[in-house]
Each structure stands twice: as structure tokens, then as C-alpha cells.
Symmetry: C2
Subunit: 231 residues, 2 copies
Amino acid sequence: MIRRIPSARERGIPDATVARLPVYLRALNGLAERGTATVSSEDLALAAGVNSAKLRKDLSHLGSYGTRGVGYDVQYLIYQISRELGLTQDWAVAIVGVGNLGRALANYGGFVSRGFRVAGLLDADPGVVGDRIAGLVVEHIDGLESVILNRGVSIVVIATPAAAAQQVADRVIAAGVTSILNFAPVVLTVPDGVDVRKVDLSIELQILAFHEQRKVTGGAMLPEDWAGEVG
Amino acid sequence: MIRRIPSARERGIPDATVARLPVYLRALNGLAERGTATVSSEDLALAAGVNSAKLRKDLSHLGSYGTRGVGYDVQYLIYQISRELGLTQDWAVAIVGVGNLGRALANYGGFVSRGFRVAGLLDADPGVVGDRIAGLVVEHIDGLESVILNRGVSIVVIATPAAAAQQVADRVIAAGVTSILNFAPVVLTVPDGVDVRKVDLSIELQILAFHEQRKVTGGAMLPEDWAGEVG
DNA sequence: GTCCCCTTGTGAACGGATGCACAAAGTGGG
DNA sequence: CCCACTTTGTGCATCCGTTCACAAGGGGAC
Ligand SMILES: NC(=O)c1ccc[n+]([C@@H]2O[C@H](COP(=O)([O-])OP(=O)(O)OC[C@H]3O[C@@H](n4cnc5c(N)ncnc54)[C@H](O)[C@@H]3O)[C@@H](O)[C@H]2O)c1
Ligand SMILES: NC(=O)c1ccc[n+]([C@@H]2O[C@H](COP(=O)([O-])OP(=O)(O)OC[C@H]3O[C@@H](n4cnc5c(N)ncnc54)[C@H](O)[C@@H]3O)[C@@H](O)[C@H]2O)c1
């Protein structure tokens, strides 16, 4: 029986937990700003919009940072989660594609406040190159590799049209980047070891539309009645 | 006591499947543009970046629309998925908060092309109200309820600062809206029956940072930890 | 020091999602 | 008409995530 041992994740934190840690962090920062020193899993879960047992299990993956009978020290937990997420260091981010969306992202203040620093803005359009946005000058896409290497960029945000996204991804990966946040509505093909996360407005709207349609038709008529009605 | 079913499945389509249908649809549209008439689950799965068994199981939830030995008719499948997602009808969307992000969204062409129509832009800032963006005039937030009711808005996009988001949500829900797409970095509290989806740049970056840190520090890293996760 | 109360951390049951593997079903060639 | 080939649709085993429920542990009152 050469079956992989279940304990495969060394110090492994489940993906679902990782995805929630930023939410907890945000809630904790809110509490800290209001001067709260300690918080129970119940209260923190409420602020984060999750079940308290889930919250406790999530935090238990980081270690035993709570005090039974009391709760969690807000500042200490902020520090532990930040460290776990890698936010105690500074991440250089480059934004490729400085159109409507790229400009909004470049101007977004929430970036800097959390350990992320926009280190470069790149675009292919000569009419855009040279523009000054949020204190940075847009550079030509030809300099992509040198921007990445010289400024220690480790995360790239792609905000180009869909047609250009794969090509941009290939180049930044070749330059050593292994973390990509993709806004273009296209499935990127990347080698193993490269992390791609996507933000897709269109998909989110379609999911909402699906549920919305259910609500409308749900009470009124049977879903089967719709089959073959349109077209 | 009759308890309301939490969500999603009326005719029983799993949430995970619903979230992938838009991806399949996009891949199918790409194939259709290139003149492909039929496609196998293997090829479509490749284009959508998923496992072919998963794709077949997903499609089986809609019905039996494939032909064994042949594959799926591209046009027919596009129609069936569109219908299932509710894209054969027109959805009126209002965008609340017309700042950097709200403008980018308003200018986004991908909106209209898929059954969604921007029916209103609203903002609280008198300096912004009256601006013309993508053919629409920004209206004052005071008119929120009348815009929703008079134009049949059923989906609201919130792109205000975090501090205003809950208040905006409360108002649109009171006006009858049950589908919200939230860009503000805050957990919205809503009653049962209201669907909220969020897009959070900051969270996505923090998740990337987590994995990136693992790569850098991790001699103790296992392949499972960085397997690409394109949804 | 002792006891009571509170909250954490986790074992265990459950349910949903994934992917393998194959029978069922349809096509086309001879 | 039959057979070989292709691909769908799905039963099943497994894995991952969620939630309940409670024992274990710590704090504070007296
Ligand atoms: N605007 C939105 O709200 C929104 C919403 C969801 C998704 N998106 C997606 O985000 C992407 C950007 O949207 P946008 O509205 O900003 O588009 P845009 O056309 O305004 O901007 C795209 C920019 O990318 C640049 N570009 C093109 N090819 C390039 C290349 N090879 N290298 C570098 N830069 C290149 C263009 O010069 C342009 O400045 C698109 O894929 C779009 O589908 C946008
Ligand atoms: N810009 C980005 O790339 C980006 C990225 C991620 C998240 N966000 C979030 O999206 C939201 C908007 O970001 P932004 O950069 O466009 O901010 P912004 O400040 O440029 O725009 C916010 C707009 O909302 C309006 N507003 C304020 N209160 C309002 C109210 N009660 N009702 C209606 N309108 C109101 C303001 O007048 C302003 O025009 C913020 O919550 C931000 O954190 C933005």
C-alpha cells in the first residue's frame, strides 16, 4: 500500500482557513482601533461573519494563542496572523495594464496599508506610458523584466485586456514571478509552482443572477415549466 | 415549523457547480467564435481549466445535453447554460459609489455583453453628481430607492468607502434588492434571503502573500501547498 | 488554597466536492 | 446488420471543510 500519508501538510494550514485569516485580521484591526484589548471567539466570529467553532479551529492551526476563560489578546493575535500571512514584510507589486481598472487599483489606498507597495506600473500603449498616477510614472511594457528583477517584485497584478493576459503571465513567470492576481476574464495556463488567483466581476454577477432567477421563478412556477419556453 | 432552506439548490445544482458554469460559458463562447460546432468534455475541460469528470458531472446537473461518442453541441450548450444562469433575460444593475473603482466598473464593456445593463450610477458627493460616465449621468444617492424601483434594478454593486457600505446595503435591501456585489472591505450584515458576494482585492493579495512566503521560507514545503488554484 | 465559572481547543459526526473507473449509449465503417 | 470505437453520465471511494458538543484549562472571588 503506497498511499500518501494523510499528515502530508507539514505545518499545513487548510486553504479555507488561509482565505479567512485576512477577514479575521480586518475585524481585529477594527477592534484594536476601538481600544479593545481582548476578544472572545464568539465576538470575533460575529465581527468576521463566521461560526465561532470555525474561527477557533482556524486559529488553532496557527497555534494556541488564546487563554481559556478569557479569549484572545487582540494585539497579539493581530501580530500572529500578520506573521503567518507574511504581512510583517513588505511586498513589491507591479500592475500591468493601466487602463480604467489599473488606474483604480493604482490609486487604491488600501494597498499600502497592509504590507503591499506598488513598485511599478506598466502598459503597452505609448499614449499611457509617461502618465503619472499615484506618484508613479507608467513605464513601457518592454521594461517588464527589468522592473521585476531590479525592484524585487514578487506579485504581479494583471489588468490588461483578456487577449494580452496570457502573454503577460508567460513573461512575468519567465522573469521569476510565482504569484499572480488576474483581473482579465481568461483562464491562465501556468506551470506548477505558480499561484494564480483571479478576480472576475462577470462571474460574480452571473452567480448572483442565477440565484436571483431562482428567487423570482421559485415561488411562482415550477422550474420545469421554463424548459423550451425561450427561443 | 418550516425552516427556510439556506440557499442555492432548488432543483439541486451545487454551489460549486454554479460558480463554474460562467467559466464554461466563457470557454464555449471562445470556441463558438472560432467556429467549433461540437466539443468533447475533455477539450472543454482543458479550455476551462478543470478536470473533465468534474465538468461532465457539472453539466449533468443541468440535464443530459451531450451525445455519447460525439460530445456537446457548442451552441446548444451555450444556450442551456445561459438559460440556467438566467442570462437569457436582462438584468438592471445600479452602481453605488462612483469613485475610482465605480468609474472603472461603469466603463467596463464586459458588463453589457452578458445580459447585464448598468441602469444607474449613484454617489453622495455633489462634486460627482452630474458627471457623465459611459453615457449615464451620476445621480444623487437620495434618489436610490426611486432608481431601484422605477428601473427594475435587481442587482446593486457597492463601490463606496467601507464606512458607507452597510448603510447603503440596508437601504437597497429595504427597497427590495436581494442581490448585492460588494467591493468595500467590510462584512455586510444582511437578512436571510439576501445574497451578498464580495470582491476583495486586499484579501486576494494576502492569500498570495501567504503562499509566496511559504515558497521563500519553505524548505518544509510540499507540492500540495502551492498547486495552482485557478477556479 | 479551593471552587466555580468561563472560554478555548479538539474529537467526532456529517455533508459536500472531487476524481477514478466503467457501464451505457451513440456513431460510423464495412 | 454488426462491430469497433468514442465519449457521456454516474456509482463509489476518498478527501476536505463545517459544525456540534464537551473535556480541559485558566482566572478570579473569597
Ligand atoms: N474595468 C473594470 O471594471 C473591469 C472589471 C472586470 C474585469 N475587467 C478586466 O480587466 C482588464 C482591464 O480592464 P480595463 O477596463 O482597465 O481595460 P482598459 O482597456 O481600460 O485597459 C487595459 C490597458 O491594458 C493595456 N495593455 C494592452 N495590452 C497590453 C500588454 N500586452 N501589456 C501591457 N499593457 C497592455 C492597454 O494599453 C490599456 O491601457 C480587462 O481584461 C477587463 O476585462 C475590468
Ligand atoms: N480602487 C480600487 O482599486 C479598490 C480595490 C479594492 C477595493 N476597493 C474598495 O472599493 C471602494 C471604492 O474604492 P474607490 O477607490 O473607488 O474609492 P473612492 O473614494 O475613489 O470612491 C468612493 C465613492 O463613494 C462615494 N460615496 C461615499 N459615501 C457614499 C454614500 N454613502 N453613498 C453613495 N456614495 C458614497 C464617494 O463620494 C466616492 O465617489 C472602497 O471601499 C475601497 O476600499 C477599491
